[in-house]
């Protein structure tokens, strides 16, 4: 019952001032065990805020991040799952599933979390799952119209992961849920 928050592309302060209030009220410390952040926060204050929600924070470098010490990619093992993290601007074409799958195979992970497109996506293919949490602030993107603020919460329980997607549509928080199961030896 490990709760992992996947969030990214906040672009604070350049393109957005802050997280939406409704999102912020939901994100309280104590519930979440890990935070994985795709990048483009961009400033240290946002990093500190995320750190306050959960001490276990994993973050990769987006092209607008002001802290250059973040890695380009990262792999984390949580429970039975291996998670891969990458901002996504390095993978061209941006948002292309096949290219991301290539990256996933390179990193050898079950779940790849990447961003940059500011649009929520969750794909399942034979090699694993690719999740894009979108932009938590709904920041402007040159490749996506009508960006809705969104983020993803994963509930990892043994061999099963439940993905809760939180989107702010027309001022209301909408939640969706997707189940993924992993067979014991093979990947998803």
């Amino acid at each position: 019952m490990v709760l992992v928050l996947a969030i990214g592309d906040l672009h604070i302060p350049h393109r957005a001032a802050d997280l939406p209030a409704k999102f912020k009220s939901m994100l309280v410390p104590g519930k979440i065990q890990h935070i994985i952040c795709t990048g483009n926060l961009c400033i240290k204050e946002v990093h500190d805020y995320l750190k306050s929600l959960c001490p276990s924070l994993h973050i990769t470098r987006g092209e607008y991040d002001e802290d250059s010490r973040y890695p380009e990619t990262k792999t984390i093992t949580i429970g039975q799952f291996k998670l891969g993290l990458c901002h996504g601007h390095q993978v061209v074409p941006w948002g292309d599933l096949d290219s991301l799958a290539m990256l996933q195979r390179q990193l050898d992970v079950d779940i790849l979390v990447s961003g940059h497109t500011h649009q929520f996506k969750a794909y399942k293919h034979e090699a694993g799952v690719v999740i894009n949490p979108g932009s938590a602030t709904g920041a402007y993107s040159s490749i996506t119209y009508d960006v809705n603020p969104s983020f993803v919460l994963m509930d990892i329980d043994g061999l099963r992961v439940v993905v809760y997607v939180y989107e702010l549509i027309d001022g209301e928080v909408k939640v969706d849920k997707i189940d993924f199961k992993k067979t014991s030896t093979a990947t998803l």
């Binding site: 019952m1 994100l27 309280v28 919460l153 809760y164 939640v175 969706d176």
Partner: protein, 815 residues
Amino acid sequence: MSPAALLEPTTKTLPESSLSTESSPERGDVGSNRGFWDLRGVRWRTDLGVLPSSSSVDDVRRVTANTRRSYAALRRRLLIDPLIPKDGSNFPDLVMDNPLSQDPDSMWGRFFQKAELEKMVDQDLSRLYPERGSYFQTPGCQGMLRRILLLWCISHPNYGYRQGMHELLAPLLYVLQADVERLSAVRKLYEHYFTDNFDGLTFDNSDSAYTSHLKQIPQHVEGNNEIQEDQVKFNNLDELDPKIQTIISFSDAYGAEGELGIVLSEKFMEHDAYCMFDALMNGSGGAVSMASFFSPCPLNGPQNGLPPVIEASSALYQLLAIVDSSLYAHLTELGVEPQYFALRWLRVLFGREFALEDLLVIWDEILSFDNSRLNSENDLETNFEVLDSSRGAFIVALAVSMILYIRSSILATETATSCLQRLLNFPQDGNLGKLLSKAKSLVNIAIDAMRSGPPRMSNDGVHEHVKPTGFRNHSLSSDAASSGSPLSVVRDSYWEEKWRVLHKEEQKQTSPQKQGMGQSQRKGWSEKVKMRLLRTESDPSSSKAHSEKMGPSRRHVRRNLLDDLARQLGLEEETENEKVVCGNGGSEENSSIFSDPPSPVGDVNDNEHENDSEQSSVASNILVDEPEAEPESKPNPEPEPSTAADSGNAIREVDENGPGPVSNGLEEATPTKGVENEESVGKPGLNLKERIILSGKHWFWKFGKNQGDGFMEKGNDPTNSSLVGRDQKSDVASSGADVTSKEESVNQNKTCSLKNLGQSMVENLQVIESVFQQEKGETGHVDNLSKKALVDRGQMTAMSALKELRKISHILSEM
């Protein structure tokens, strides 16, 4: 759920060994179930109301099965995993039921609450009975405990989980485990009775049906000849020892309700433990529910707004006051609120005070008392909810008897901290039987006292709260140390008046003297101290003897010490001596019983000392001459109590007894001193001072007899005086110190013959009184000069009186 790990601790002693046979049938209501007194689990379940008290095995089994079923249902309902989708139900509204949902009623909200609870419970469980870790720390047992506690807390959200609940649950589980082990022991012995008896016959594989019944006997022979003979003898179940019989019928898999009805069952230990725990916490509809001790808010309406555990603590103190008011007075003077220690005692039913075996015996007793309410009528109100049942009364009585058990060491304490230390480190090797029998004797007192005591519950609603208010106020006062508050304020009006008069007088006085300045401050303090001490006089008569010595708080305490059981002479003396030596400067604590700032008390002592200047100096001189006096040349903080103690005790005893009848005399005597120290304050104030002075006098020569260390103190005169820096003789301080130290040292009691001596002492004091009274009459508000004059005059008269006293002390020493 109950892995074999539970049966590991074969080295653990079964509770039978520590069973107290005294507890069984007298109080039992139901004869037959009382007979299960070697099956603690069954007995406790009956006492708690989980099992019916009927004698029929079938009934017992049926109820057992029902309780287990209910627990299983509860568990299924509450420990559900939120991830598992409910069969056939639509997806719950995700907006409400997502993990980040703020809604506390959502599945996830409850999940997180449960996680919180679990964290708290685990914290406590990991520290449960580490000395018995072989059983309690095994994962199986811990898992059971955790589940039980979680389920109970979830189903009683208004209580939540409080530390201590695990300690209540642990012995219950232990007892069940012991029963199961006994069952397996019996099973080994009487194995052939435990075989599956479908039709009352046993079938052997090789033989045909009708001969098998007879033939099974030799086949089940164990290697032991004894067993073989037993088995041959007891063919029939009925011929067995009835206890064994019950065990067997309880564990028959084919009795009523089948396996679920097996009363001693390892598989259902968790269920049974939960039911017992629930019954214990709820009180089974009786008066005492342990859960109430954990709740911060009062359960009953308007009667008192106190948390039930505080109320129970005050009931404890009230019972103590009735039974042993001197001890009660001592505790209240120290400022020891009952809930400091009673909270722990009551909340875990003494689980932290005794070893597990002893605790089981104690719980046997507690649970054997009925918990039903004694007051069923609505118009009668008990003062204390906890005493509304005999079980509650027994719990309170047991607490009181525990306090009485360590009476002597409590009375030896001078500070609240040390007193609490003694109370909270109850000796574990105590004589349980004595403790329990004393508690039983107090139960009736408790019940009667609560009914027929000052709270006249029958008619006058007003009276109901008069006396308990007094006690309740006492126990409720948050700052017991605040002047004037801790003591019983029953006769408030009278003493309040005196105090206020005193206060006014003090305020009128100017204190240009250096001494005066400090004094007036201290006077105010000393006045308060005196008032406080005086108030103790309003306590029941038995405390009067002790409260007579209205000296400084310290003296008062010492009197109690003397009067009661023997104490550690050396320790007390040493501490006292040392403290006195350095304490006169006013910066230290004079091991005052009050947690008030030590300096005022020290100042009070100083004042007293100064007041007693002539007397004390005389006394000290006298004491010096005593044959038993040790060389005083060097201040020796190490007292030699043994030799002097005896005589000291004698004198003390006299003092103790003497003042009893002499209280009035004391009152008159005090004015003498009062005049010296304080300006003439007014009669009530003088009375107070008189007391203090007189008592000081008593102490002086008392101690003079006793302790060598007291004499050592005299050697400290110079130091003391320098510290004090008074106008008056420096002797005073040291002598005062001596007195106090001596007081400390005297511990033992003497025979009543000493009372006679006390009487003569009193007469002498009265002489002094009269002298002082004359002086007092002459002086109005006094300035420095007049004060000095008074002092001088007082000194003369005091000296003469002191000589008389010395003679008495000589006599005593020779005894």
